[in-house]
């Protein structure tokens, strides 16, 4: 059933998505684009762009958007609840019984390993999306401008608006 597969797809994303929204993108891509074909890769990039221009975490934004796309309002609710369920349940159990388990040495060691893999996951998302996105010299130019702006710590909202404006200049006419 559709709602059921929506729930489990986003449950897996919520259960294994360590290190924030960008690091969750390969998981989201695997579930939403590769496995279930709910979105194309460029639609996924559009959702990332939208979620960077609106407040709120990428994972919630992606869950709501994909859920709505696939199964309207019930889908949006299902996917959004699914993505926050695993951590919420674990945290409530932990908060209740093992307040400071995370400070225990072996937990810290595992987290250290996870911190390292987060870098690889973000790099993977960047490379994998770059292959679909960069179709023409104009797009490479926008990438260069945006990269410069990102390293100068321009906030994502003006950065994406600028890129979108350049897109209109290059591609709308």
């Amino acid at each position: 059933m559709l709602l059921e597969s929506l729930f489990w797809a986003f449950f897996r994303i919520g259960a294994f998505g360590f290190g924030g929204g960008y690091a969750m993108l390969p998981l989201i891509e695997r579930e939403v684009v590769t496995n279930h074909h709910w979105l194309t890769k460029s639609e996924m990039v559009d959702i990332i762009a939208i979620s960077q221009m609106t407040p709120g975490p990428i994972a919630i934004n992606a869950a709501t958007f994909v859920g709505y796309r696939v199964a309207d309002f019930p889908g949006a609710v299902t996917a959004t609840l699914a993505v926050i369920t695993p951590a919420t349940v674990c945290l409530l159990v932990v908060a209740r019984f093992f307040g400071s388990l995370y400070r225990w040495g072996p937990c810290q060691a595992a987290l250290q390993g996870l911190r390292a893999v987060v870098v690889a996951l973000i790099a993977l998302a960047a490379f994998s999306l770059a292959l679909t996105v960069l179709e023409s010299p104009q797009e490479l130019l926008i990438l260069g401008v945006a990269l410069g702006a990102a390293f100068l710590r321009v906030h994502p909202v003006p950065l994406l608006l600028l890129a979108g404006f350049l897109g209109i200049l290059f591609f709308a006419f």
Binding site: I84, L92, A109, L124, L160, G164, F171
Partner: protein, 166 residues
């Protein structure tokens, strides 16, 4: 996001002390999923038990849920996103998303890959993900196990140690 949470809970409402805030933050970041929601769970629970946790989750998740709901329905019911201008806007924004990801790779890499063991885990993970197309879940579990194997002597963290980090 973190400065915003700190401002609201610690400075304005004075619900938690600095020490408690760092403790809750570390706990929230040690778990998968959405950090802001995780923080809402532990802070809500600490302040007002289970009802507190669930109300805080609602507060943390509802605004973005509603905003995206509106945007998603606009995408479906009207054609502004499918108009030539809308299409061109998103075609321009896509390379910028790649740029943001590349910059984030560099920034997290500089923070997380300070010694060669972390570099090896990261490099190995990238190879398995990019070239062998392994499922991210396996690579993530593998990285946690590698962490256990290569950092065996890690001491249990204390508040004092966290204060020294500041």
């Amino acid at each position: 996001m973190i400065p915003l949470i700190r401002e609201e809970l610690l400075l304005r409402k004075k619900w938690v002390s600095e020490e408690e805030f760092l403790d809750l933050l570390a706990l929230a970041q040690s778990f998968p999923g959405v950090m802001a929601v995780n923080f809402a769970v532990v802070a809500g629970y600490r302040l007002a038990g289970l009802p507190g946790a669930f109300l805080a989750i609602g507060g943390a998740a509802l605004p973005s849920f509603l905003i995206i709901l509106v945007i998603a329905s606009l995408f479906t019911f009207t054609s502004w996103a499918q108009s030539p201008w809308g299409k061109a806007f998103f075609r321009g924004a896509r390379p910028a998303v790649v740029a943001l990801l590349l910059a984030a790779t560099y920034q997290t890499g500089r923070g997380a890959l300070k010694e060669y063991k972390a570099g090896l885990i990261c490099g190995g993970a990238f190879f398995l993900l990019y070239f062998l197309h392994l499922h991210p879940i396996f690579v993530i579990i593998g990285a946690a196990l590698c962490g256990l194997a290569v950092y065996p002597g890690l001491k249990t963290k204390s508040f004092q140690a966290e204060d020294e980090d500041q």
